[in-house]
């Protein structure tokens, strides 16, 4: 019995329960979240973050270059808090949206809800996950613009 409980607990801890540690680093917020949502470091693994930070002068087609000091500090914060869990498994690209788990979780959402101007793309977490900025991606906190709750 004890063994089963332990196994369940272990299983749960490996699952993406909808919560990640908030992105509470002031420099990261200032430099990265000025243009886009401040994705929590736990949403990607170490290899992904190293790729992101190694190519900021061509960051998805735009120049997001930083000074050396800021770049090193942010990389350090990201790799220290990167995770190799369910969310970042089998995804060493720079895009959280390329994660197999992410794709599975978003597969039923009609394209028109994603493409509408209030959302724009699946990388705009906060457009529907109303508590995403706190690291809470719980199903209960989803409100899709012009649609409503998604449960």
């Amino acid at each position: 019995m004890k063994k089963i409980v332990l196994m369940i607990a272990l299983g749960l801890s490996f699952a993406f329960a909808g919560n990640v540690a908030p992105a509470n680093n002031a420099l990261y917020q200032k430099e990265c979240a000025s243009c886009h949502f401040g994705y929590q470091p736990a949403l990607l693994n170490r290899a992904s973050w190293e790729k992101v930070m190694g190519g900021l002068s061509d960051h998805f087609g735009t120049d997001a270059s930083l000074g050396k000091v800021e770049s090193e500090q942010i990389l350090d914060y990201l790799v220290r808090n990167a995770r190799s869990g369910k969310m970042s498994a089998n995804n060493s690209t720079m895009q959280i949206t390329k994660s197999p788990y992410f794709t599975k979780e978003h597969r039923k959402i009609p394209a028109k809800l994603v493409e509408q101007k209030e959302v724009g793309s699946l990388s705009n977490c906060l457009a529907c996950h109303t508590t995403a900025d706190k690291g809470n991606y719980s199903k209960h906190a989803i409100v899709i613009p012009n649609y409503g709750r998604w449960e």
């Binding site: 243009c35 949502f37 998805f60 735009t62 120049d63 270059s65 930083l66 724009g120 990388s123 705009n124």
Partner: protein, 138 residues
């Protein structure tokens, strides 16, 4: 009488014009020196030239047409929106957003990034000075 009118006009102009803080003044001086070194006939930065640069459409880093106004909008007293992410951008005009153009490192960083994004190259001193002069007057 003429003198008084002149004085009033001057006072009004000054009260509306924004002024760079000390570090930004030093930065503008360095841009001025650079522009002068490159072109001895350089006689000062010009807001109208800056406005033309800001509103002009160019083939940017992504190989597509883009302008500064694509994200910042044409009315700098209002905010804009990042064309790639939809994230709002606060107003650039110092008259409504006094934090703008106050931090040299921030200004240099964004000029580098945004000239690359819009012009697919870095700006030269003349262009940077003109654009900053235009924004400062907003």
């Amino acid at each position: 009488m003429k003198k008084i009118v002149c004085f009033i006009l001057l006072a009004l102009t000054l009260s509306h014009a924004q002024e760079f803080n000390a570090p930004m003044k030093t930065y503008m001086e360095s841009l001025r020196a650079e522009a002068k070194a490159k072109d001895p006939s350089f006689s000062g930065f010009d807001a109208a030239r800056g406005e033309a640069l800001f509103n002009g459409v160019h083939v940017g880093k992504k190989g597509k047409e883009i302008s500064c106004t694509t994200c910042h909008a044409t009315n700098l007293k209002k905010g804009g929106q990042n064309v790639n992410t939809n994230k709002p951008i606060t107003a650039l005009a110092p008259s409504v957003n006094p934090t703008r153009l106050t931090d040299v490192a921030e200004v240099e960083k964004w000029l580098r990034r945004n000239f690359n994004d819009v012009f697919a190259r870095e700006g030269v001193a003349l262009e940077k000075g003109d654009v900053l002069t235009y924004i400062m007057n907003q």
